[in-house]
Symmetry: C2
Subunit: 405 residues, 2 copies
């Protein structure tokens, strides 16, 4: 398995593009309309936000994917197209404009929006921009599409991996956007995956549903979950591998590649959380179940007090133990070992639930890196889980104190 | 019912005091040891943190209150006395020192600690300080005790109410501390209540358990819950009212007074949340149950995105609706009406789940006040609930980025 460049256009038969059409009014250099298109019909699978308030594009996409197929994805940033009287019509219109400009049908498209909730989408701008983004479609267009779905993200999120199935080279590509409001299950997170793998709709859905809970749903930025999130994968079969129809060895390889792609993007999303200065990874070892390990690790990376301590590079392990305590997962505090680690070393801070004397200077240096690891061992079982988050900074407050205006 | 001054020493027969003994090393002007004492034995009731990791003073207090009686409360700030090898012994020793200095028994005392977790408590300082705080006990000592339990609180929290039961004047007094890590159920929150009401242990416990879920447990500052929290009430019977033995009219009056005291302190705690610049009150009306109303209101005041918007006085009602959506409480988004209000007016922002055009300038002015109200109507039933929180500010990050050092 090899990580390669090219994002969503790395797999055979996919083109993509991104343009500025005018939904984002503040800055004309910021792209806000993305299109991904396959030259063949794709099997498709998706996972959606668990929020009870779902934006119109979610419902329209659910409807369009009912037959398990799609040809492309149309998405805008700058406006969530949610909670407005015409949201549903506009989401349908986005698909119609994409269909008209590409010679397909509206129901062939997945549609997504991200941005502010409750303000009317500038659908005229999208209508006007659609021919432009179709014109821009190319094999090098993943970068532009990745930029066109960003809101407060500071970096585009894009990856691809290639691997071999029965002698055929198969590729999975992806772009994503994250930033604020990222929390299990699905923050304001969009992830668009493409693959040339030949795989049935059932197996594609199975692979996605196995992967998302262990990757994107283990990311938390601020505990909020949004109205608009989705992770969708399109598979056009152009790699010409024998179609994956059940959980055989080929499925296992495909699923592993899918997990690698999603885990990479999950880490990007966490590390680029709104205002984040560092990625915080928490792994819980030797838990009695994967579920309890995940619950504990999530509580740690979600805790505002832990996040603020990480910002200050403060080895305040008591807050970590405290967050574990209110996670509602069963564990024995008196068994807990804990260390902090990063590229420059590690420091053990707690053994059997009690604080250790440690070198504060060394701890500060370890916690001052771009990625820090909170490593917890429960001594209760054999299961483990890793969750990803980021620190809580002044910039988070600045960004979210005045996002709309 | 009348609010009066005097705090925990307003009821007959209670004295209190607070001194600096040296647990807080940074600033000798900051008091860190508090004592409250009754001249008669009290019936006692308490509510404790739900965190699985409970600090030693919680267990010691549970033990000492097993007989339903107490004479006093000893508490320190600056150190949580949690997760250290000698924490349990030190919590017992605090009670022993208090007992020696007052001529009582160790088991007559409630003990509480608040501050950093996992660092060894300076028990020698407390031993040395105990005679001083006993010396300082007085009818005017509530103020000093209220100061001595503060950590990052910016203001002392103290109140008292007086009312009449069967011709006798009865008083309930209280002090509390809050600030960071406040979240249902019980943040790093200490609330000490005293009353001269004659009431059985059973009725006192019943009244407290009816009150705490509707007051302190409806406060959230940052979603974290701590290891050390407790709310305890001591009743010495010196008002000489007919003892409250069942849920009669007198009980109802007492419970109402208790709720007024606790609600006052809950609002103080929310408004003085770490770094807070304003109190955020969310009321959900016309819900199908009080539980779902509470769950929705809590999700709103706990949302970092709502909190950051409140800091920026940004009428971002979409985030409110979004927080309701992930609260896991059932409601129909398409029925939701919402307005923002404060002392200077109100603005309707959403009707039947859809955004309204509103005057952004007026909304900004309304949201720039010290207390802002998010008022939500569900049109689904007759129940309602109010929760309290605060905005998320730069100062929260500053305070918690480097709390230990």
């Amino acid at each position: 398995m090899k990580q390669i460049s090219g994002g969503v256009t790395a797999p055979k038969g996919f083109v993509a593009g991104g343009v500025h059409c005018g939904v984002k009014t503040h800055n004309k250099d910021k792209k806000d309309l993305a299109l991904i298109l396959s030259e063949r019909e794709c099997t498709a699978a998706a996972v959606y936000t668990m929020n009870r308030v779902k934006a119109a594009p979610i419902y329209v996409t659910m409807d369009h994917l009912e037959d398990g197929t799609a040809w492309g994805i149309v998405a805008n940033s700058g406006n969530a197209n949610a909670c407005c009287p015409l949201s549903h019509e506009y989401a349908e219109e986005m698909c119609q404009y994409a269909a008209q400009a590409t010679g397909r049908k509206a129901a062939d498209f997945v549609v997504a929006s991200t941005g502010v909730i409750g303000q009317t989408l500038n659908i005229a701008a999208i209508q006007k921009g659609m021919p432009e983004v179709v014109q821009a479609l190319s094999k090098e267009g993943s970068d532009a599409a990745a930029h066109a779905i960003m809101t407060t993200d500071t970096e585009k999120k894009e990856t691809a991996v290639t691997f071999t199935l029965g002698g055929k080279s198969v590729t999975i590509g992806a772009i994503a956007k994250g930033s604020g409001m990222i929390h299990p299950n699905m923050g304001t997170m969009l992830a668009f995956l493409t693959t040339d793998c030949a795989i049935t709709e059932e197996m594609l859905a199975e692979a996605l549903h196995e992967t998302v809970p262990r990757t994107f749903n283990r990311v938390t930025v601020d505990g909020d979950t949004s109205t608009n999130d989705m992770c969708v994968v399109l598979a056009n079969g152009m790699a010409e591998n024998d179609q994956i129809e059940w959980k055989d060895d080929n499925y296992t390889v495909f699923q592993k590649a899918l997990r690698q792609v999603c885990e990479y993007l999950a880490r990007c999303i966490a590390g680029d959380g709104e205002g984040a200065s560092r990625l915080v990874t928490c792994t819980v070892h030797q838990a009695r179940s994967e579920e309890s390990a995940e619950r504990l690790a999530k509580a740690v990376v979600a805790s505002p007090l832990v996040k603020a301590a990480m910002f200050g590079a403060d080895a305040n392990w008591g807050r970590v133990l405290c967050a574990m305590g209110y996670s509602k997962a069963p564990f024995r505090p008196e068994y807990v070992d804990m260390k902090f680690a990063s590229a420059v070393g590690e420091v053990e801070v707690c053994r059997q639930g009690m604080g250790l004397d440690f070198d504060e200077e060394a701890a500060k240096s370890i916690l001052s890196q771009d990625e820090v690891i909170i490593d917890i061992t429960l001594h209760e079982g054999k299961e483990e889980a890793t969750c990803w988050g980021c620190d809580l900074t002044y910039d988070y407050v600045r960004i979210n104190g005045d996002y709309r205006t």
